[in-house]
């Protein structure tokens, strides 16, 4: 194991001090930590990414490389900051009622879309109505479906009325797919949203070539004066990871949007490169269907939980670039996260537990993993090895992603899940664990848990919510509906002269307006 301690330490040393800080105290704006001197304007930033930008449709885009682009092109009412708190975006301020059932957002004055037409409350209303319209594919609907009605009080004031109390609305409005589209665009043929963009973001669309490059140029009328610093951004596609890293290291590219764990060390050590680990709540989870044997028995789930050597897993599959998780979907970044007790790797204990559960000679079972991203299969394979002494005879079946989606996902008994960090505890639990969660795939269905989440949702007082969420998390830890072995850091890197580049722990927010090129 030692070799990993070393490698990990050297990573720390290899990085700017500020980064080490972020690794410990989350929530500090990277730009301050890393700023070398006062920003210069001008220059074009080249960003490499390995997945296609297949669509620019802000309402339902989902690609890892599509999020940064829509973040640059569009603005929402609110936006999540590096500290995981909602910050002002189009709305300079907002206020919610005591019962958390009505919210009012006040837009900045004189915002204009890229085509120069003003962006008013009507556009906001139109956008939210589109999101809520079941005939329109919209990814943000699940976090906004509590909205009952939305109206434009005046040109710059929007009022939301909710069916149920929901204190986190300003966070939901920051959802990456809830950014404001012009009323005109929405009334027109919606396909146009896929290939064109008329937003209010810091950058305008110049060319869209999904096969090679998406070129953005500075939005002179951006509502924050003096920003963005850059004249333009080129999003360059490198489907082959080796090719991407090689081009980045050669300096042909300024920013490598996503760095693979395998490459991180090498890239971090390269001169002039700033490699960043941003601790995040992104996690791998092992789905165990609980309406059938063997996982209907909590002891079996706990036994499996005890058969995972989490720190080693972090070293093996994340090259140490992550943190062991202990089956709590809520990572330490969340405001209401509880102190999660560690679960020691204890095959012997697990074996005993299995025996108690009525499996004295172990369990033979098939674990399915999609081949995308590779981490799913890697964790599965590692798990197979680690759980062997505990009496779990796991056969790993990796399958192409499409086959997985068609045949296993949401249906299978035992498979690998992989989720990005959600904006709130509420979003996280409503994504997976509550009985009516969007991707309820364990059949855990715990009424008490549902109630706790519902109550927390309606509660405004932070203290009360903290308590409720603590209970919910504890309940989750007792029951182990999922095994969550690791949290994966977000890894990105910027080359010489590319300053203030960072990504929010939530990902999906990139603050490209702050980035500047420090080139002579």
């Amino acid at each position: 194991m030692t070799s990993f301690m070393i490698s990990r330490r050297s990573v720390m040393m290899g990085l700017a001090g500020g980064l080490a800080a972020t690794a410990l105290i989350p929530g500090i704006d990277m730009s301050e930590a890393l700023a070398a001197d006062t920003p210069k304007a001008g220059g074009t930033l080249k960003i490499s990414h390995s997945t296609r930008i297949a669509t620019l449709n802000v309402l339902n885009c989902s690609g890892p490389a599509e999020y940064p682009v829509v973040d640059m092109l569009y603005s929402g009412l609110t936006r999540m900051g590096p500290d995981n708190k909602p910050m002002a975006d189009l709305a300079e301020r907002w206020e919610g009622s005591e019962d958390a059932k009505t919210f009012t957002f006040y837009l900045r004055k004189g915002i204009v879309f890229h085509d120069g037409t003003p962006c008013t409350a009507d556009d906001v209303v139109a956008t939210y109505q589109a999101i809520l319209n079941p005939d329109i594919p919209a990814a943000a609907r699940s976090v906004l479906n509590m909205i009952e009605k939305i109206e434009a009080v005046d040109a710059t004031t929007v009022k939301f009325t909710l069916k149920t109390p929901f204190a986190d609305l300003p966070i939901s409005t920051a959802h990456a797919n809830a950014r404001i589209v012009s009323k005109v665009a929405l009334s027109g043929p919606r396909e146009k949203l896929d290939t064109t963009a008329n937003g209010t973001g810091p950058f305008k669309l110049e060319t869209y070539d999904s096969a090679r490059m998406v070129r953005l140029v500075k939005n002179e009328n951006y509502f924050i004066k003096g920003k963005p610093y850059l004249d333009g951004i080129d999003m360059m596609l490198f489907p082959d990871l080796a090719a991407e890293s090689a081009n980045f290291l050669s300096g042909a590219v300024d920013v490598m949007l996503v760095v693979q764990q395998a490459d991180f060390q090498r890239i971090a050590d390269a001169t002039g490169i700033t490699a960043q680990r941003i601790p995040s709540g992104r996690f791998v989870n092992i789905t165990m269907r609980q309406d059938q044997k063997p996982f209907d028995d909590v002891r079996v789930r706990k036994a499996l939980a005890m058969s995972v050597d989490r720190p080693t897993l972090v070293d093996l599959v994340l090259e140490g670039l992550g943190r062991p998780a202990y089956d709590n979907l809520v990572s330490p970044e969340f405001p209401y996260a509880i102190e999660t007790p560690e679960i020691a790797y204890d095959p012997a204990g697990a074996k005993k537990l299995l025996a108690e559960a009525g499996y004295p000679d172990g369990i033979k079972i098939k674990l399915v993993a999609s081949n995308r991203p590779a981490i799913r299969a890697q964790v599965a394979i590692a798990l197979k090895q680690m759980a062997l002494p505990a009496g779990f005879d796991i056969e790993v079946e990796t399958m192409p992603h499409d086959t997985y989606l068609a045949n296993v996902w949401m249906k299978g008994q035992f498979y690998m899940g992989y989720w990005g960090m959600q904006a709130t505890e509420d979003a996280t639990f409503n994504l997976l664990l509550t009985s009516n969660a969007s991707y309820e795939d364990t059949a855990w269905k715990n009424k008490d848990f549902d109630k706790l989440i519902a109550d927390a949702r309606a509660t405004v007082d932070p203290a009360k919510r903290k308590e409720l969420y603590a209970k919910a998390q504890q309940l989750q830890l007792d029951e182990t509906p999922y095994i969550v072995p690791i949290f994966e850091d977000i890894l990105t890197a910027s080359g010489k002269g590319a300053e203030d580049w960072t990504i929010a722990p939530l990902s999906r927010y990139y603050y490209a307006e702050n980035v500047w090129l420090n080139k002579a």
Partner: protein, 273 residues
């Protein structure tokens, strides 16, 4: 099939083939380590006394993985080819023997299928079937069938006009006898030769599918997959891509050389080296 071992082609081919087959049969037994066992302390090592071929990203012993991967790789190549040859030559022989509109229809359709590049064809089918080793094998064999049909057909046709077949016809032999006793035995050798050479292609296509994530899947030790998995570590330890890559080449080379030697031995007129 006189003095088969006269050419270097034959000797080298046979030797390589012997090595590959040996690995395919005894590989798993003689593998020094469990091919799946992790060794977190020795990841991405170069060759050493402890790990002759070095280790991969999980510290798994490459030699052991290559050896345990051999059976599936060879089985894939041979299996896919046999299946393809089977399907293909049946179609081809039927077409060649019956002739007439049956023949021309079959040939038209084959032309159509042959116009689609092998790999592309295989990709399509394997995506339909949904990845995995068995499906990949089936896909390859289907992709092979048209080509084999062509070859076996022309083999049959070339034999059909020989005098000894004419003599049989003149004797009033039954069609079955003519096909089974006069035509097939003599049409066989080109088919066999082609099959042997195609095994090497099958192996390569199989590896390619594994590489593209459509063939074998982790934690399988299929060689193409090994290259794919190790690619992102290739700059840290070139061995973990080079070793499986070269293994594929050697296996393919073995069958290819052997096939060519076979052809030369069976058909001395053909002059090439």
């Amino acid at each position: 099939m006189r003095n088969f071992f006269s050419t270097p082609t034959a000797i080298v081919g046979t030797v390589l083939l012997a090595i590959v087959c040996f690995a395919a049969i005894f590989g798993p037994m003689i593998a020094p380590y469990d091919p799946q066992a992790f060794d977190p302390l020795n990841r991405l090592q170069g060759p050493s006394m402890m790990h002759l071929f070095g280790t991969d990203q999980f510290g798994r012993d490459l030699l052991s993985r290559i050896l345990t991967g051999a059976p599936s790789t060879v089985a894939f190549g041979v299996g896919a080819t046999l299946l393809g040859v089977g399907i293909g030559s049946i179609i081809g022989v039927v077409a060649g023997v019956t002739g007439g509109w049956v023949d021309s229809t079959i040939m038209r359709i084959l032309d159509g299928l042959l116009a689609v590049p092998d790999l592309l064809f295989t990709l399509l089918i394997v995506t339909i079937l949904g990845g995995g080793m068995e499906h990949a094998m089936l896909a390859v064999s289907i992709a092979f069938a048209p080509g084999m049909a062509r070859i076996s057909r022309s083999a049959v046709l070339s034999v059909r006009t020989r005098d000894y077949v004419r003599a049989a016809v003149a004797r009033g032999e039954s069609g079955v006898y003519i096909v089974t006793c006069e035509v097939l035995p003599n049409a066989l050798s080109p088919i066999v030769v082609e099959a042997t050479i195609r095994v090497s292609f099958a192996i390569m296509i199989g590896a390619t599918l594994g590489f593209l994530g459509l063939g074998a899947q982790p934690p399988s030790t299929e060689w193409g997959l090994m290259v794919a998995e190790a690619r992102q570590f290739m700059f840290r330890n070139p061995w973990c891509v080079a070793i499986p890559g070269l293994s594929i080449a050697i296996a393919a080379l073995g069958f290819n050389l052997f096939g060519d030697a076979l052809r030369d031995a069976l058909d001395p007129k053909r002059s090439h080296g």
